[in-house]
């Protein structure tokens, strides 16, 4: 095992609960560290011992395949012991409260808890009760910080920078934690953000977050460097956020006609899983020249390795134990 050099500086937070509040330097630290792991992950021998002896628990109160797998792989490649707990196998179904569950897990001395929960703020509540690092893997409609980091890494590798780029985030903004984390990250790093959606899917006073809001794809995509599509959940239709899939696709689905308004070399992104023919036309999603959707998945593992490493290294009690 060829080990990586230690991180140049510590990450100055105990948890990673969200992007809001992180400084440009802190974001850059995570992205730079992830950059190293991108290269490592492309080698035949991917296993490192950075987290040897450390226990990581993936605690998922909401169904997830790609994020959970990505964290699991990240932890294992760093040599940590990774346990997956999902809601169907947990005692939550037996009536245990979130705090009881976290206290139980805490008693097992994990080093990092990776938590996804359908309620906004639930991960923070849990983090207040445990004495290990907590990474938010998505809480309700609040934040999904590692997604924003992997999006940023993807963009940075393609464009060399984030500063000054014009990024359109399109679709179900109101329910999206991905959108919120990306808004914070991109603006912190000096990019400009536009939100494009039917007004039913734009949260109240969204402009107060510093973004520009559009309800016409053709106008909003004009001159954009990056087009980020969000997943549309069809159950929103029955709550009258939009009338039908065909109308949604007609006005807000990304096809070549709408994409024409963006810059010629605009990158197309999607956090997955995609609904082809709903928010994105299949041929656009599969356009090798412009779609970086698969690259986002690759960056996801690297970003999560960086987060796991830097947060593990940063636990005072861990340091004490390791002396």
């Amino acid at each position: 095992m060829n080990e990586v050099a230690p991180a140049p500086q510590p990450f100055p937070h105990r948890h990673l609960l969200g992007i809001e509040g992180l400084s440009p330097d802190e974001i850059t630290l995570l992205l730079d560290r992830a950059e190293i792991y991108v290269d490592q992950n492309r080698q035949a021998d991917k296993k490192k011992s950075v987290l040897r002896g450390r226990t990581i628990i993936n605690l998922f109160f909401e169904a997830s395949t790609r994020t959970r797998t990505s964290f699991e792989l990240a932890g294992k490649r760093l040599g940590g012991d990774v346990i997956n707990m999902s809601v169907s196998t947990s005692s939550i179904k037996k009536g245990e409260t979130l705090i009881d569950t976290s206290m139980t897990l805490n008693a097992m001395h994990p080093d990092v808890l990776v938590v996804r929960h359908p309620d906004s703020g639930a991960v923070q509540l849990l983090a207040e009760k445990v004495n290990c690092a907590v990474i938010n893997a998505g809480d309700g409609s609040h934040e999904h910080p590692t997604q924003a980091l992997l999006d940023a890494l993807t963009i940075r590798r393609r464009r060399g920078r984030l500063q000054g780029l014009l990024v359109a985030i399109c679709g179900d903004i109101v329910h999206s934690r991905v959108a919120r984390s990306n808004i914070h990250l991109l603006q912190t790093m000096g990019a400009r953000v536009r939100l494009i959606a039917p007004r039913t899917l734009i949260p109240a006073e969204a402009e107060r977050l510093g973004v520009e809001v559009f309800d016409d794809m053709a106008v909003g995509l004009e001159g954009c460097d990056i087009v980020m599509m969000l997943r549309l959940q069809s159950e929103r239709m029955h709550a009258n956020f939009f009338p039908s899939i065909r109308e949604y696709f007609h006005f807000f689905g990304l096809d070549y006609e709408k994409l024409e308004r963006a810059k010629e070399d605009a990158l197309i992104m999607h956090p997955g899983p995609m609904n082809r023919g709903v928010e994105i036309d299949s041929v656009v999603a599969d356009d090798f020249g412009r779609s970086v959707i698969r690259e986002q998945v690759e960056m996801g593992v690297a970003v999560r390795m960086a987060c796991l490493e830097l947060l593990s290294m940063n636990q005072p009690e861990l340091t004490a134990r390791n002396v």
Partner: protein, 448 residues
């Protein structure tokens, strides 16, 4: 005879392609620009070629067909933004052709029809069906409203964006209110995405179950269950609050109560993007017209108290109410020859729209030009229709009328397929002499 109805003269004086028709000796009105002047107007084929006081001051060229207006008023054809056609689905009550004929007799050249047909206008194919059938009739131009909710059921949004692309000019659930506040909020918000207008029937449905006429002394004496004025006020006030948080565009149809007029007045003063209309029954009649259980006077909203009628007149005078629409609601005899509580709501109004509205002029509530504005450019502008104006090069949609010509409304003589006029037997002033759509006379009175 005393009525205004002559034969439909589709063979009489019909210009062929490119023919020119001169309307001379007219009092020209263009309410949008404030024009009110003696003069002439020339149509060429389907469009207005020229008009003004100097036109044909010397002579009319030989190759021009001349229509002598003999001092009568010549104005843009009326624009009626609230019409129930009944086609498709209830053709025994009315059709696009019968509504077109009634509109022609009423000087109306553009109508906007409600989506409460069967099938409901909640699908692009129905929008296209109505447009095609109306074109075939070749009478008043027909613009459909689309449904706000699928099947007018008040639950799930219809495809407003695609319906608008197909030609729906605005959205309403017709004679039903969008009752659920969350659905209405979403409808307003979603409509704003595309700059579309939601038109509400202002009535809180839970307050009017089984109601038959306006709540009050008359209903009490007749032993009928009342429809409280508050049902209208509550829905108007609620929608104005929803409008405020959605930054959208709301039009409230057929206001009938003093409190609702006042609520809109205050909302406009606050700068909200709200407009409203009323219909002739609400400024020309009150609840006493129900009299001895006259089902032709059973309307929705119901005829209200005299103070409400006066408030509606005030609303028209001070600009709170933006337009007048006929609220044409044909019902067949079977639906009206019933005990009052069981009879259907609604009255026909196309043929009496101008004559009854002219009472506001004859009673000196409104100038003639202002009244005509409320019937032409104002309703057209509300829904963004290219209609209701005299424009060189624009469609030659015109009405020639004598504002003083007296006649008596006789339900049996109406051209409308259904005869349920709340104004049956009423003496009125204002005769339609000629109605012109795209340069063609679709109605000409048999004067003399």
């Amino acid at each position: 005879m005393g009525n205004a109805h002559g034969d439909n003269t589709r063979g009489d004086n019909q210009p062929r392609d490119g023919d020119r028709v001169a309307y001379v000796n007219a009092r020209l009105f263009d309410p949008a620009s404030g024009l009110d002047v003696a003069g002439s107007l020339l149509t060429e084929g389907e469009t207005i070629a020229d008009f003004g006081p100097e036109l044909f001051a010397d002579a009319v060229p030989d190759d021009v067909i001349v229509v002598d207006c003999a001092g009568s008023c010549l104005a843009p054809g009326l624009v009626d933004i609230r019409v129930q056609v009944r086609e498709p689905g209830e053709e025994h009550k009315g059709t696009l052709l019968s509504a077109g004929n009634a509109a022609s007799a009423g000087g109306i050249t553009s109508i906007v029809c409600l989506p409460n047909t069967d099938p409901v206008i909640d699908d692009m194919s129905v929008v296209e069906f109505v447009a095609r059938r109306a074109r075939k009739a070749g009478l008043a131009k027909v613009y459909p409203y689309g449904a706000v909710t699928k099947g007018l059921a008040g639950a799930e949004l219809a495809e407003l964006g695609m319906l608008a692309e197909a030609g729906a000019v605005a959205f309403t659930d017709g004679v039903r209110a969008v009752a659920d506040a969350q659905v209405m909020r979403r409808a307003l918000t979603y409509a704003a995405t595309f700059g579309l207008i939601i038109v509400q029937h202002p009535e809180e449905p839970s307050l009017v179950v089984d109601g038959a006429m306006n709540e009050g002394e008359t209903a009490t004496r007749l032993g009928l269950i009342g429809l409280p004025p508050a049902a209208e006020t509550i829905m108007v006030e609620r929608d104005l609050r929803l409008l405020e948080i959605t930054d959208s565009r709301l039009h409230i149809a057929h206001l009938s109560t003093a409190e609702a007029v006042d609520a809109v007045r205050r909302a406009k003063a606050r700068g909200l993007a709200v407009t409203c209309d009323t219909a002739p029954p609400y400024f020309a009649l009150n609840e006493t017209a129900v009299g001895d259980y006259r089902t032709f006077a059973k309307l929705s909203p119901p005829l209200r108290a005299e103070k409400d009628r006066q408030a509606v007149v005030e609303g028209l005078k001070d600009g709170t109410i933006d337009a007048i629409a006929s609220d044409h609601a044909p019902q067949d005899e079977d639906a009206k020859r019933l005990p009052f509580a069981q009879a259907a709501f609604g009255g026909v109004g196309l043929e009496t729209l101008l004559a009854v509205s002219l009472e506001l002029y004859h009673n000196r509530h409104l100038e003639l030009a202002e009244l005509l504005r409320l019937l032409t450019s104002a309703p057209a502008d509300l829904l963004g229709l290219d209609a209701g104006r005299l424009t060189k090069g624009g469609a030659a949609d015109l009405v020639v009328f004598d504002p003083d010509g007296a006649w008596k409304v006789d339900a049996d003589n109406l051209r409308s397929k259904s005869k349920n006029s709340p104004f049956d037997g009423r003496p009125v002033q204002g005769r339609i002499l000629r109605t012109v759509v795209d340069g063609r006379a679709v109605f000409a009175a048999d004067v003399g």
